[in-house]
Symmetry: C2
Subunit: 92 residues, 2 copies
Amino acid sequence: MQETPKQESLFTAIADVQRRKILNLLKQGEMSVAEIKAHFEFSGATLSHHLSILKGAELIRVRRQGQQRIYTLNLSVLEEMMLLMNRLLGKD
Amino acid sequence: MQETPKQESLFTAIADVQRRKILNLLKQGEMSVAEIKAHFEFSGATLSHHLSILKGAELIRVRRQGQQRIYTLNLSVLEEMMLLMNRLLGKD
DNA sequence: CATATATTTAGATTATCATCTAATTATCTA
DNA sequence: TAGATAATTAGATGATAATCTAAATATATG
């Protein structure tokens, strides 16, 4: 069974430890970039980069609220990710 | 919850598409290096490199059989991997 | 409208990683 | 034991990715 670019992007997205930390953080609930940033050492530009990769993989969603951007986990893609993992690792 | 080096190595191991293909291939059953190699374009040295990363993550096991080395999936670590994914992505 | 705040984008740098060829190790067999 | 076969290891190279600073964009507010 062939792997799609979208699936590829999921594996790439979770390959980085900082991005996994961001995902974990967002399990607490939606957060602005500044709120997320408060949990990390790296620059805002780097955070923006990671968020864009997570968003590209559709693991998170954004909405605008004034001058802030609020990020949330995208649960449906998380579920798809689990299916993918099952397929990669499972016996079917 | 803190991520261990072993868990880190699992995410790194599945990050590469070729390694994911190797895992998929081994779902068919155990194989020697030469048998695995027959499915890919890259050199034996590169294959050896990928196998060593998968082995480092304990996703596969090796045993010797004459001058060959036979690789098999390590199902217990695959299950652990699923738990990890659940924890990363799940709601708990 | 000018300035402040929030975030992203551009461009450069550095580190990591996949890959290669050549050399090495280990095993088998004539 | 010499030569052949199987696989790994060493060392180098090129590509990709994480990170930074500086600049740009967008929004809010005095």
